[in-house]
Subunit: 515 residues, 2 copies
């Protein structure tokens, strides 16, 4: 977790916390260079790519290496001051962490002035939506193609005739049958589908089934918990005479809904009613320095205003969970997080892996060595607010303040859980580059480094790399993220929406057996 507020222009090597064993290269370093760091001069002895780590101290084999003031692993080969520190000399630190509960409390400054609003859709159940979508929810893979065909046929007409409808989505997936109904996997799928059906950004839903599957329409709608103003239609391909007839009936159904939904209008709603989802993908060595702390700043302001903000990606807070349990508002909440981490350790062990597998090839190329290091950077997205709830995957987000949802780190699966839980805006930080979207919820993408923004700026909404360049502070970028959240919640399109991204990325978490 970075407490660095700004970085001087031209900084070559950045020390994250006093006493750290490593610093971060903010440009490519070459052997023989002498650079200032921590009040002294450091001679570089190896080529160190931008975003990667360089040793400030000698570290003996088996001894912890510190960054962010925390252990990010132990030396697996002797480390000498000036060395490149990465997978060749740094490994997992298996030492048990001390978990304290509620020992850290941060009083967030209540923003001055009148409380702010966004222009949203007030739904019949009192929730606030940021979009007005029609969704075709498929019970099973078998109805996926039919859903796509309905969207293909209806899309242009909806766009042309119903300007107040944001669009129509085919939410297709690869599951829905060959599952044991009582299994955790089937329950997660049903909870996710139900979460989308009741989402405040979905005003009309067509539940499209084949007709003989496990995940039946009635199971998805069983809880009867949709907003009363959500229009609901159902269609079974088997009962409706097959694909051609179902496409025709489906197109009629969605146009009928669009006609009604086009009369809905936005109205000012207090920003305390926003539900922000926090996520990251393709992290690099800059994530924990630039984009994540800036997002944390924005999250803290929203939490201070009374909004909900939800961190996720359990395998990517692994090793940094002690920082979150210390911020838990009760022992039960902290313990629930630890219980989920226990679940993950067992789940991964059964499947023959370890939690330290997580940094992906791209993360590693970007300078992240261990899951501990990745996690310390990742939790910065959650700012400094107290942790007031822990949810299971796709559970309804009912609590204001900062909370945590147990999801995998894999982007589409994680965000599908957050959206199912009710997130109405998502902010997604990326170092390696991402083309992610998550309709019906808008996703704002924040890049961690300027090189990425230069290369792939089309896909990035905000460049937090300016913090490392020394041209903006964490607060300045954080404040830009906050303003964009409010604008996007009020209807402004994100880059991913302009590209129409976010249907393919509907990926309910799949656990358990397929038969």
């Amino acid at each position: 977790m970075s407490h660095i507020e700004s970085i001087a222009t031209g900084t070559s090597v950045l020390l994250m916390a006093d006493g750290d064993d490593v610093a971060v290269a903010l440009r490519d370093l070459t052997p023989g260079e002498i650079v200032p760091v921590g009040g002294g001069d450091l001679t570089i002895t190896a080529a160190v790519p931008s975003g990667h780590k360089i040793a400030l101290n000698d570290v003996a084999v088996g001894t912890p290496v510190h960054k962010y003031g925390q252990s990010i692993g132990v030396a697996t080969a002797p480390i000498v001051r000036g060395d490149h520190v990465h997978s060749h000399n740094l490994g997992m630190d298996l030492a048990a962490r001390v978990h304290e509960f509620g020992t850290v409390h941060t009083e967030l400054e209540a923003p001055s002035g009148p409380s702010r609003t966004f222009d949203g859709y007030r739904r019949a159940n009192g929730r606030a939506g940021t979009r007005n979508y029609i969704a075709i929810l498929t019970t099973v893979n078998c109805s996926g193609t039919t859903a796509k065909l309905i969207v293909d046929k209806a899309k242009a007409e909806i766009k042309a005739r119903f300007p107040h409808v944001d669009g129509i989505l085919a939410l297709t997936h690869q599951s829905g049958c060959g599952l044991v109904l009582e299994s955790e996997g089937a329950q997660i799928l049903l909870r996710t589908l139900n979460g989308y059906a009741r989402h405040p950004n979905i005003s009309g839903v067509l539940v499209l089934s084949l007709g003989c599957e496990m995940a039946s329409t009635s199971l998805i709608l069983a809880e009867g918990n949709l907003p009363e103003d959500t229009l609901v239609e159902t269609l079974s391909i088997q009962e409706n005479g097959g694909m051609r007839a179902s496409v025709a009936s489906g197109v009629e159904a969605v146009l009928r809904m669009a006609e009604t939904l086009d009369s809905r209008r936005r109205e000012p709603i207090d920003i305390s009613e926003l539900v922000l989802g926090l996520n990251c993908g393709g992290s690099d060595g800059y994530s924990g320095i630039t984009a994540n702390p800036a997002l944390g700043w924005a999250s803290d302001v929203l939490v201070a205003e009374g909004a909900a903000s939800v961190l996720a990606e359990t395998p990517e807070v692994y090793g940094a969970e002690h920082l979150l349990t210390a911020r838990a508002t009760s022992r039960a909440i902290g313990q629930k997080l630890l219980d989920r981490i226990d679940w993950w350790e067992k789940y991964i062990a059964i499947n023959g892996g370890t939690m330290d597998n997580n940094p992906s090839p791209g993360n590693k190329a970007g300078g992240i060595t261990t899951i501990l290091e990745k996690s310390l950077g990742a939790v910065a997205k959650a700012g400094h607010a107290d942790l007031s709830a822990v949810y299971e995957y796709a559970e309804p987000i009912t609590q204001r303040g900062l909370s945590f949802m147990d999801t995998p780190g894999y982007d589409p699966v994680s965000v599908t859980g957050l959206v199912a839980g009710g997130a109405t805006v998502v902010v997604f930080t990326t170092g390696r580059g991402s083309v992610f979207g998550c309709k019906p919820t808008p996703s704002i993408k924040v890049g961690t480094n300027t090189e990425l923004f230069t290369r792939q700026g089309d896909d990035i909404d905000i460049n937090a790399g300016r913090i490392a360049d020394g041209t903006a502070t964490v607060e300045e970028v954080g404040s830009e993220i906050l303003e964009l959240i409010i604008e996007v919640a009020s209807g402004r399109q994100t880059t991913s929406e302009e590209f129409d991204v976010g249907q393919e990325e509907f990926v309910p978490w799949h656990i358990g057996a397929v038969t």
Copy 2:
């Protein structure tokens, strides 16, 4: 397994094998009716829907109930002659089966006359394709939307300018990252993607990656086992400047390939070079009487001609595996099947289920009570040929004759494994109705009952229900299936191809943890 060759018109109740405890209603029966069966008269005492079972004998609780001459379960409540037999009085039979190896050998009659040909594409590696497709293979969910956009933009031009190219496919999926590379799950995914890349029906492949994922382009192409005449292009979204630039580059790449591939032509190829995939979905009480035995007849003829035919869906041969091991050409082949079944029993147990969960709600509505009954009907698709190989999921199908591939029963996952293995034509039987397709391989759908064909005929290529109606024999429908296989292999479109089904249904088997 049915040995019934034909059924007299007007038959109300069908006895599958002498000595069976139950017969099958071929129409809805009402209490009080008296119907002839097995040389006697039977008084119906309960409403029995078409496709469901009716008791011929009294069966005491705990005693096996026979159909097809085999136990399909044990009575869980006292059964009296004339009763409806279903989930309320019939449960799983857990008695161990005796597994013999190679005790049953069937000499298939070599077809008379000169060997027959289809018009296919001869590939550089000697394999025979039945289609000429360009595929965009996505390494990870993150490149899925970009792949779809490329197809959206290039499709119409390819169709208009390149009549000898069958089309362009976006093969998107929900996995590719958050996987342990060494895990069984990751290896299955890579094997499946590689199987599509080398498929004889794919002449041009664009491997589209995000750039930081586990399932990298190089891992997918690592084995270098593609036909030499397959055009290969690769594109990384991160390296190529993001989504907009990648869509433009991708469209150029596929149009370039289409230009070359449009010169490919079909030529006569011996039908012994066909690789037939056998599958079923939404089975009902008619499956084992009509469509499956007719498909078995066609499979036997192709095997006699020297072609490959591959049964799959391990959870749906469960309980009938002794019929297959007896047909194995060696003890090792029979044992490999038993080993896969052992794997499944453990896999399902870890995930908290049992193999008898399998009959889906739709199967049960269609009259199938237990997995044993479903399996006995399902193996009829494989005719009577000896079993000459057992493959793991997505393994290359190298052996002629009848073989078995270990896959789940869930349709898209099962057929994705068969296509990855090299199936060039799939025949899919369905009782409840299906809108399945599996591009780049054509899928022929055979319906089990005339009511289905009347209701959903648009989606069904052949109505095997005529066997139950008494208007066609098993051999007549089998021969129709065989002729359609040859025509479709030569380029005729199936119903699913006319509807453009088969991209959404690309579903690699997902086992193991997502992180």
